[in-house]
């Protein structure tokens, strides 16, 4: 086993094992950090696949962004009177486990049984980042613009949905907007 191969096994273990441990952890904060480990493993696998730009994007967006978002969500949605624990539905644990196992087996069967037309990986001669940048603004210009509009819409929508509402307001009719917040509070 060459050195590069053993690196793959390290990253593959880092990706799969913490994800599996999420199933058996009770604390949500601990789950978030297990997810961090799994996503870091995926970033390493991207690096192993010669996708350096993608690997570092994964680190920045997922580990730096989404995970912090999750931790914020955990902090904002926990009441102080109950511990940060999570119940596991006893009725769904067994069928859920077997449903996941079934899907896993089906995917493994397809992945291993299908005769993929693989070719030897082309050696990387130039860095990815300039190629990706040029492709983003030429071949992929339409999805690029669509995604930028989607991000704007998601940002505005998330801000609107999560806006601060007055404590006793019935169904969000009297939410505090920026313009009249002070007047309402008096």
């Amino acid at each position: 086993m060459s050195f590069s191969d053993s690196i793959f096994w390290v990253f593959a273990t880092t990706a799969v094992v913490p994800a599996f441990l999420i199933l058996f952890t009770r604390s949500i904060v601990r789950m978030a950090f297990l997810l961090l480990g799994s996503l870091a493993g995926f970033a390493g696998l991207y690096l192993q696949l010669n996708a350096a730009f993608l690997g570092f994007t994964q680190v920045m967006v997922y580990i730096g962004g989404i995970l912090i978002l999750f931790l914020f969500g955990v902090m904002l949605t926990q009441r102080s009177d109950i511990p940060v624990r999570e119940k596991v539905g006893p009725a769904l644990a067994v069928p859920g486990f077997f449903a996941g196992l079934l899907l896993m087996a089906a995917l493994l069967f397809i992945a291993l049984q299908n005769p993929w037309k693989t070719h030897p990986p082309v050696p990387v001669t130039e860095p990815d980042t300039p190629v990706i940048g040029i492709k983003l603004l030429s071949t992929y210009i339409l999805p690029f613009e669509a995604v930028s509009i989607l991000l704007l819409a998601a940002m505005v929508g998330a801000t609107y949905i999560a806006r601060v509402q007055a404590p006793g307001a019935p169904d969000g009719q009297a939410e505090l907007s920026d313009s009249n917040a002070e007047g309402r509070l008096e």
Partner: protein
């Protein structure tokens, strides 16, 4: 057992260092590294199944979202692996995963905003208890 499946298992076993398992010819002729497309597909399938389990078993909405991220990541890994080993241009697979990461970020922020709203009106984020249609 079909020949392809057997070969794939051989690839996995031989790289795991199992004694007496001959290295599969397909993987050996590709390049000197014994890591091939199958390995990444196996990792992706495992994480996908785990994500499904998390979504079905857990009842906390934020943990559900974590399972969703696992599933999206496994799909992205497949795209990059197929881009490297099957597609004509390896950048194409990376582009799809790049867009996937962006969309996952947008989805996570929106879903967390909705979860915050549910928590504000129902005082819980257990998905089993959020069953009334009128907030």
């Amino acid at each position: 057992m079909t020949p392809g499946l057997f070969q794939g298992l051989q690839v996995v076993l031989s790289t795991l260092g199992a004694e007496g398992v001959p290295a599969a010819n397909a993987a050996a002729t590709v390049l000197e590294s014994s890591i091939g497309l199958h390995h990444y597909l196996v990792v992706s399938a495992l994480v996908f199944g785990i994500g499904i389990m998390v979504i079905i078993i857990r009842r906390n909405a934020i943990v559900l979202l974590m399972g969703l991220e696992l599933i999206l990541n496994s799909a992205g890994l497949n795209f990059v692996a197929f881009g490297k080993y099957v597609a004509a241009d390896r950048i194409d697979g990376q582009m799809v995963t790049l867009f996937l990461i962006v969309i996952a970020a947008a989805e996570a922020s929106l879903a967390l905003a909705i979860i915050l709203n549910i928590f504000n009106s129902l005082n819980t984020i257990e998905v089993d208890e959020a069953k009334s249609l009128k907030g």
